[in-house]
């Protein structure tokens, strides 16, 4: 058992975050107690961020107190672990446009109180103008124009020197091109928009044809 990035427990190929809401599970994950603290197992087949960490993500800019804009927060599976890491002094602005997902998310929000749920289209930042400047933008919307959505939101909300985490699903961008070509093409767009690419990690065997990009603005 060792700590990585100060906040995440790692034991072999399993990682855990310290449960902000002891005894409460979000998606049926396993709970364990270590030295009097409770931890939640972070499932890399359910969360691309967990898969990226296990596949060797070197820089991890999410810290206690971080403020994050999360596009495509869905029911909050990944967000719940991010919420564990940032703690009560941090905040996630969670954008999601599917009502059914929002309903699930709100259950998680009511327990954790460090997520602001926002039902809006990530293509229209003007629907959430009151979001503050953030330390990191996390994007997982599985849309063909995902990279453009990410860039637009970073320009609007990311602080200078802040980070972008982008989960690219090649299938939703181009079904014919090889995944590698899709990643290349999307990364080129990021560079052109002025981002510096810090890491580029494929997510197999946890997620098929996915690439996780960490970039700095």
């Amino acid at each position: 058992m060792k700590k990585i990035f100060d906040t995440i427990l790692r034991k072999g190929n399993n990682i855990y975050t310290q449960n902000l809401t002891p005894h409460i599970r979000v998606y049926g994950e396993k709970l364990i107690d270590v030295h009097g603290f409770q931890y939640r197992k972070w499932d890399p087949t359910r969360s691309k961020l967990a898969a990226a960490i296990l596949n060797g993500l070197k820089i991890f800019p999410i810290k206690s107190g971080s403020v994050i804009l999360y596009l495509g927060i869905s029911a909050g599976t990944t967000a719940s672990h991010v919420s564990d890491i940032i703690g009560k002094s941090g905040l996630i602005y969670g954008i999601e446009f599917a009502e059914r997902m929002m309903r699930e998310l709100i259950k998680v929000v009511k327990e954790r109180k460090n997520i602001m749920p926002i039902m809006a289209d990530a293509r229209k930042p003007e629907e959430y103008p009151y979001v503050e400047q953030v330390d990191l933008v996390y994007v997982d919307v599985s849309q063909p124009d995902e990279t453009e959505i990410a860039i637009r939101n970073c320009k609007e909300f990311l602080k200078p020197g802040g980070y972008l985490m982008l989960a690219i699903k090649s299938q939703s961008i181009d079904v014919v091109k090889s995944p590698k070509d899709v990643y290349k093409q999307e990364i080129k767009k990021l560079k052109k928009a002025g981002f510096k690419i810090e890491s580029e990690i494929e997510l197999s065997p946890y997620q098929k044809d996915h690439c996780f990009v960490l970039a700095k603005m």
């Binding site: 409460i24 107190g65 403020v67 009560k88 002094s89 941090g90 905040l91 969670g94 009502e99 929002m102 309903r103 709100i106 259950k107 929000v109 009511k110 327990e111 954790r112 109180k113 460090n114 997520i115 602001m116 749920p117 926002i118 039902m119 103008p129 009151y130 979001v131 503050e132 400047q133 909300f157 602080k159």
Partner: protein
């Protein structure tokens, strides 16, 4: 002529703000720091008092103001005294987000209202079906007084077979004869009652499913139909979540309670209201029913609060209730 200075204004989650072109804060009006209040202000117009205070300026609501606001949001929130700490601010924003989302999506908050309507309709329909069935028995009884069955079966038989001669096992009857048009109309009426009974079943299923979704904890402790009646009596899930366990215990027995309050000497206060129908009380010996009612309602109080505030299912509640029951029965 001197040109008027520009005030760039914007709405933020913590108040209305105005900046000059260099990003200096000219004026602000903070919301009072609770989510309900901020929700109203944020979704409404700029206040008159805010706009009046900027009467010397040319007012522009634009992205410039938003940019200045964003960059210093946390500093302002804390230094201007809106929140003491980041955690307080985050808790406020998370509650505000729920209100905005609910308003946007008409979700969760309104679902309990739908259940209440369905539950009221169900109770009314049940009453009506009983009245209809009595009338049918009287009506068809003129023709075949020997036919005995419960309401649902009775309506089915008449609707299916019509005249007594068609009903299986018919031998003879002391009733009057029906001609074709007498038979037709009573048969149709019976069919109508069957339909109403089928409708009642559908509403029941709807309530059961919705209750399990919206109130998973209440539904684990009592029949979801009873849970829905409790909701209806309280008026909303939010109201139910505010009630004390002793109020929940006598919910639905208001008449008896008022009788007691008017005449404390002679009329006892009621032991239970709707929850009397719970199987835990029904299946218990009379002398411990009062105790069991207290136990069930205290667990129901917790269940309502969890259902309202987090909607998370806690199997623990039912286990604890049943453990305490076993102890009491020993």
């Amino acid at each position: 002529m001197s040109k008027k200075q520009v005030a760039h204004i914007c709405k933020s989650t913590i108040g209305f703000f105005a900046f000059d072109s260099k990003g200096r804060l000219i004026y602000y009006e903070l919301f009072s720091p609770n989510a309900e209040n901020a929700f109203k202000k944020l979704t409404g117009n700029f206040s008159q008092s805010f706009l009046k205070s900027l009467s010397g300026y040319e007012i522009k609501q634009d992205k410039i103001a938003l940019k200045f606001m964003r960059e210093n949001f946390r500093d302002y929130a804390i230094s201007l005294g809106f929140a003491k700490t980041n955690s307080d601010l985050n808790r406020f924003l998370s509650e505000l987000g729920i209100l905005l989302t609910n308003a946007n999506a008409s979700i969760s908050i309104t679902k309990d209202k739908l259940i209440i309507q369905a539950s009221n309709t169900l109770d009314e329909l049940t009453k009506q079906i009983n009245v209809f069935s009595e009338h049918l028995t009287e009506w068809f009884g003129l023709h075949y007084p020997e036919l005995k069955a419960d309401n649902e079966k009775y309506a089915k038989i008449v609707s299916e077979y019509g005249a007594r001669e068609n009903i299986p096992k018919f031998r003879k009857s002391t009733g009057i004869k029906f001609d074709k048009c007498d038979e037709e109309i009573v048969k149709k009426y019976a069919y109508f009652i069957c339909q109403a009974i089928a409708m009642r079943k559908q509403i029941e299923d709807y309530i059961k499913n919705s209750m399990k979704e919206i109130c998973p904890n209440i539904s684990s402790l009592v029949d979801p139909l009873l849970g829905a009646r409790l909701l209806s009596k309280a008026g909303s899930l939010q109201n139910l979540a505010k009630l004390s366990s002793s109020t929940i215990q006598i919910l639905g027995a208001e008449k008896a309670l008022f009788r007691h309050l008017r005449n404390k000497k002679h009329i006892k206060s009621p032991k239970y209201g709707l929850i009397f129908m719970s199987k835990y009380i029904q299946n218990s010996p009379k002398h411990i029913r009062g105790k069991i009612a207290r136990l069930v309602s205290s667990k129901l109080m917790m269940a309502a609060r969890i259902d309202f505030y987090s909607n998370r299912f806690e199997p623990k509640l039912k286990e604890e209730l049943e453990r305490a029951m076993r102890k009491m029965r020993k």
